[in-house]
C-alpha cells in the first residue's frame, strides 16, 4: 500500500481477528511508526483488551485469532503465539490492567525492576541494580525503592510496573486500561509516563475507555464498538468533530458535557443520616477525624478525595457495617435496618456468579414478600429486558449488571444509599445512562445518595453538595 518511507514501522497489524466464546473482532488493520501513539477507545466489552492480548499472544484458551503481525521487522502470523515470546520485554512490553496486581507482593520495588534488567536484558547483577535504581529515580520513586508493593500507592505501583515492564528496552509499549481505578491527578501522571515511550522513539498502543486519556495522549484514535471499528482518525479531529453517530454519543457522554442537575428543593427536611466527630484509623494511619456529615432525603452528596483517603470506610461507617473509631452516627427515626443500601464499584464482584439473575431476584422477592408485578415497572424504567434475567452475572455487561444492582437495592425502598464509584468501571455512555437513572429514581423515592467518584467533573454535574476528604 505505502511505498518505502524513511520512517520505521515498529508495529504493524494486518487484518487481525479474534473469534470464539461469544466474542468476535472484525479484521482490524493499523500500523505504528517510531514516535507514534495509537489509542483504542471504546466501551467495556468492545473487545479492546482482546486486541492487546492477540498482539502479545496471550489470548485465553478457546479464542482463535488470525491475521498477520509485524513487530519490529519480525513478521509472524497472529495465531502463532510461541514465536512472540522471545520479543516479550525486549521489543514488546505490556503494562497490564491494575498493575499493582501484576507486581510480586513479597518483593521490594528495586529488585523487582532489577530482575528484568538482569534476566531479560542480560546485565550483570550490580549493573542491573544500578540501572533499576536510575529508572526508578527518574520516575520519581526515590522513597519507594525499598518498599513492598502493598506499601506503595496505586500511582507509585503503576510506575514500578511500568519500569519493570520497559526495563529491557522494549520499544513498543501496550498499555491496557492504564488508568482504571485511578483518581484524576494520578491519571494525568500515568499519561505523562506513557508519553515517555513515543517521545523516546518508541511506539505506544493504549487501550482505554477514558476519553480524557485519549485526548491527552494525542496521536491516532480508533473507536471500537462490539469488535468493529466505528471511526478512526487523528485525536484532535476525531475527538472534536466525530462523524459517526456512535462516536458523537460516546463523546457527549463525557461528564464535563452533561447538563446541569435540577436544583435540590428539600433543604428543610431533617437528615436521614447524620454523623458528628467521626474519625477512624486504618493500618496505623488516621484516615479522617472530626468529620461531620448530614444527608437529607433525596439529596445527592458527592464524596471526593484521593485514593485511599477513606471514602469507602466512611461509607461502611454510615451504613453501619463498620464501627467508627470516634464520633457517632444518628439515623432518622424509624429507619429500618434494610433502609441503608450500597452500590459497589465492580458490579460482578457484588454478585454470586453461579446463579441466574432471575434466581437472585426471586430470592429477594421471597425474602421480602414482594409481588413480581411490583418489579416490572421499575425494570422497565431501568431498561432491563426480561430475557436478561435468564443469564448469570458474568454473562451480561457491567452496565446492565449495575442497573440490576440498582433494581435490587431500590426495591427495598432505601432511605440512604451509598454508591461507591458505581460507574467507574463503565464506559462513558453507560455511565451517563446509569447515573442519570439512579439520580432520577433516588429523587423520586426521596432516597439520600452519597456518591463517591474520582472524577470531579462528574461530581460537579450530578451532586447537590460535595464532601472532600483530604487523605
Amino acid at each position: 500500500m505505502t511505498s518505502m518511507t524513511l520512517t520505521t514501522t515498529l508495529l504493524s497489524v494486518e487484518a487481525l481477528t479474534v473469534d470464539g466464546d461469544g466474542v468476535s473482532i472484525a479484521p482490524i488493520t493499523f500500523a505504528l511508526e517510531a514516535g507514534q501513539r495509537l489509542t483504542l477507545l471504546g466501551e467495556t466489552g468492545s473487545g479492546k483488551s482482546l486486541i492487546a492480548q492477540a498482539i502479545m499472544g496471550t489470548l485465553p484458551n478457546g479464542l482463535t485469532t488470525s491475521g498477520q503481525l509485524t513487530i519490529a521487522s519480525h513478521t509472524c502470523a497472529a495465531a502463532d503465539t510461541t514465536s512472540r515470546r522471545a520479543l516479550w520485554g525486549r521489543t514488546l512490553a505490556l503494562l497490564p490492567q491494575e498493575p499493582w496486581n501484576a507486581l510480586d507482593p513479597t518483593m521490594r520495588a528495586l529488585p523487582q525492576v532489577a530482575e528484568t534488567h538482569r534476566y531479560v536484558a542480560g546485565r550483570s547483577k550490580p549493573d542491573a541494580n544500578s540501572a533499576a535504581r536510575d529508572d526508578l529515580i527518574q520516575l520519581g520513586l526515590e522513597e519507594g525503592l525499598n518498599k513492598l508493593p502493598g506499601e506503595l500507592s496505586g500511582g507509585m505501583a503503576q510506575r514500578v510496573a511500568f519500569a519493570a515492564a520497559s526495563a529491557a528496552g522494549a520499544s513498543i509499549v501496550i498499555a491496557d486500561e492504564p488508568t482504571k481505578g485511578l483518581d484524576a491527578p494520578r491519571r494525568d501522571d500515568v499519561v505523562k509516563l506513557l508519553a515517555k515511550t513515543p517521545d523516546a522513539g518508541g511506539a505506544l498502543l493504549t487501550i482505554t475507555h477514558d476519553i480524557d486519556v485519549a485526548r491527552r495522549l494525542g496521536g491516532e484514535v480508533i473507536i471500537l464498538r462490539q469488535g468493529q471499528v466505528v471511526e478512526r482518525g487523528p485525536a484532535e479531529q476525531l475527538l472534536n468533530q466525530p462523524q459517526t453517530e456512535y462516536a458523537q454519543r460516546l463523546l457527549s457522554a463525557e461528564p464535563s458535557r452533561w447538563s446541569d442537575p435540577s436544583p435540590f428543593s428539600h433543604q428543610a427536611s431533617s437528615p436521614v443520616v447524620s454523623a458528628s466527630g467521626l474519625g477512624i484509623a486504618r493500618g496505623g494511619r488516621q484516615l479522617f477525624s472530626e468529620l461531620d456529615v448530614a444527608v437529607r432525603p433525596g439529596e445527592i452528596v458527592g464524596v471526593v478525595g484521593p485514593s485511599g483517603c477513606g471514602k469507602s470506610t466512611l461509607g461502611d461507617i454510615l451504613l453501619g457495617v463498620a464501627k467508627p473509631g470516634a464520633g457517632s452516627v444518628i439515623y432518622q427515626d424509624g429507619m429500618p435496618r434494610l433502609g441503608r443500601q450500597k452500590l459497589y464499584q465492580d458490579p460482578p464482584a457484588a454478585f454470586s456468579p453461579h446463579w441466574t439473575l432471575n434466581q437472585l431476584l426471586e430470592d429477594l422477592l421471597r425474602r421480602h414478600q414482594f409481588e413480581y408485578r411490583a418489579v416490572a415497572p421499575l425494570m422497565e424504567r431501568l431498561g432491563l429486558n426480561q430475557h436478561l434475567l435468564d443469564r448469570r452475572p458474568g454473562e451480561i455487561s457491567g452496565g446492565e449488571l449495575q442497573r440490576f444492582a440498582i433494581l435490587r437495592v431500590l426495591l427495598l425502598k432505601p432511605r440512604f444509599l451509598f454508591a461507591d464509584e458505581p460507574t467507574s468501571r463503565l464506559d462513558p455512555v453507560t455511565q451517563q445512562q446509569t447515573l442519570s437513572l439512579l439520580i432520577e429514581l433516588a429523587r423520586e423515592q426521596a432516597c439520600a445518595v452519597m456518591l463517591v467518584s474520582h472524577d470531579p467533573a462528574l461530581i460537579a454535574k450530578v451532586c447537590d453538595r460535595q464532601l472532600a476528604l483530604a487523605g
Binding site: 466464546d21 461469544g22 466474542v23 467495556t44 466489552g45 483488551s49 482482546l50 485465553p60 484458551n61 478457546g62 479464542l63 451504613l319 457495617v321 435496618r337 434494610l338 441503608r340 443500601q341 450500597k342 459497589y344 465492580d346 460482578p348 464482584a349 457484588a350 454478585f351 454470586s352 456468579p353 453461579h354 446463579w355 437472585l360 430470592d363 429477594l364 425474602r367 421480602h368 448469570r392 458474568g394 454473562e395 455487561s397 457491567g398 444492582a405 435490587r408 437495592v409 427495598l412
Partner: protein, 275 residues
C-alpha cells in the same frame, strides 16, 4: 469481561467431566457394577471353603480361580470392593460434613470459635494419620468402627482447613456484604455464595479422601491389624495369598490390581486437567 466469562464457563463445566475424569468415572462404574452384579449373577459365597479345590487357575466355573482355602476369588473380590467402597463413602461423608460445617463456622465467626476449632484440628494433626488409626485399632482390634472412626478423624481436617480459608476470604467479599445488606440470612448466604464456591474443592477432596481411606484400610489389613479373617478385604487378601505367590501368582495379583484400579479411578476423578 471476557476473562470473567471464561472463568465462569470453566466453573460451570464442573458436571462436564474432562477426558481424564471421564476415564476415572468409567473405571469406577465398572468396579461398582462388578462388585454389585457378581453376587446377583453367580451363586458364590466369599467364605465358602472347598479344600479339595485350592489355588485353582481361572476356569469357566471359577473365572478368577480359587484361593488357598478353595474360596472363590470372584466372590471375594466383589465382597472386598463393596467393603472398601462402602467404607470409603462412609468415612468421606463423616469427614466432609463436620469438616465443611466447622470450617464455615470458624471462617465466618473468626475469633474464639476459630481458635478453638483450629487447635482441635492441629491436635488431630499432631499424630500421624496412620498412627492415630493404629492407636484406635489397638483399643478395639479387628473392629470395623475403630477403623472407620480413625480414618474419618484423619480426613476431616483437610475439609476444615480448605473450607475455613476459603470462607474467610469470601465472608469479607462485596458479594456477601451486598446480600447481607439486602436482608438475607446465613442459610441463604451459604447456599447462594459459599457452597457454589466450596463445592468443587470439597468434591475434589472427597475423591482423594476416598482413595486414601481405601489405601489406609488395605495397608492396615496387610500388616494384620485391620479387619480379621475371614473377611474379604483387599489388604488382608494380599497378605493371605503372599505365601502362595509362587504357585498361584494370578491369585496374589488380583487384589493388587483391584486396589490399583480403585485408587486410580478415584484419583483420575479428582484430578483436574492442568490448565
Amino acid at each position: 469481561m471476557t476473562a470473567a466469562t471464561t472463568r465462569l464457563s470453566s466453573r460451570f463445566s464442573l458436571p462436564q467431566l474432562s477426558s481424564r475424569q471421564q476415564l476415572g468415572a468409567f473405571l469406577l462404574a465398572l468396579l461398582l457394577a462388578f462388585a454389585w452384579l457378581v453376587p446377583w449373577l453367580f451363586d458364590a459365597d466369599p467364605a465358602r471353603q472347598q479344600l479339595t479345590r485350592i489355588l485353582q487357575a481361572p476356569s469357566l466355573a471359577e473365572p478368577f480361580g480359587t484361593d488357598h482355602l478353595g474360596r472363590s476369588m470372584l466372590a471375594r473380590l466383589a465382597a472386598a470392593i463393596r467393603l472398601s467402597l462402602g467404607m470409603a463413602l462412609l468415612s468421606v461423608a463423616t469427614a466432609a460434613i463436620p469438616g465443611v460445617l466447622l470450617g464455615v463456622v470458624a471462617g465466618w465467626r473468626g475469633g474464639w470459635s476459630d481458635r478453638l476449632l483450629g487447635s482441635l484440628a492441629d491436635a488431630c494433626l499432631a499424630l500421624p494419620g496412620l498412627l492415630l488409626v493404629l492407636l484406635l485399632v489397638a483399643i478395639a482390634p479387628g473392629n470395623f468402627w475403630a477403623l472407620y472412626v480413625g480414618i474419618s478423624l484423619v480426613l476431616w481436617i483437610e475439609y476444615f482447613r480448605v473450607v475455613r480459608a476459603r470462607t474467610q476470604a469470601l465472608v469479607t467479599s462485596p458479594q456477601i456484604e451486598a446480600s447481607r445488606l439486602l436482608g438475607f440470612g446465613p442459610t441463604m448466604l451459604f447456599r447462594r455464595h459459599l457452597w457454589p464456591e466450596l463445592a468443587p474443592q470439597v468434591f475434589t477432596l472427597a475423591a482423594f479422601g476416598a482413595a486414601s481411606a481405601i489405601l489406609a484400610m488395605a495397608a492396615l489389613g496387610f500388616v494384620s491389624v485391620g479387619l480379621r479373617p475371614p473377611t474379604a478385604e483387599l489388604g488382608l487378601m494380599m497378605i493371605e495369598l503372599l505365601p502362595y505367590y509362587h504357585e498361584a501368582p494370578w491369585a496374589m495379583a488380583q487384589p493388587i490390581i483391584v486396589l490399583f484400579v480403585v485408587v486410580m479411578s478415584l484419583n483420575l476423578l479428582a484430578g483436574k486437567d492442568p490448565r
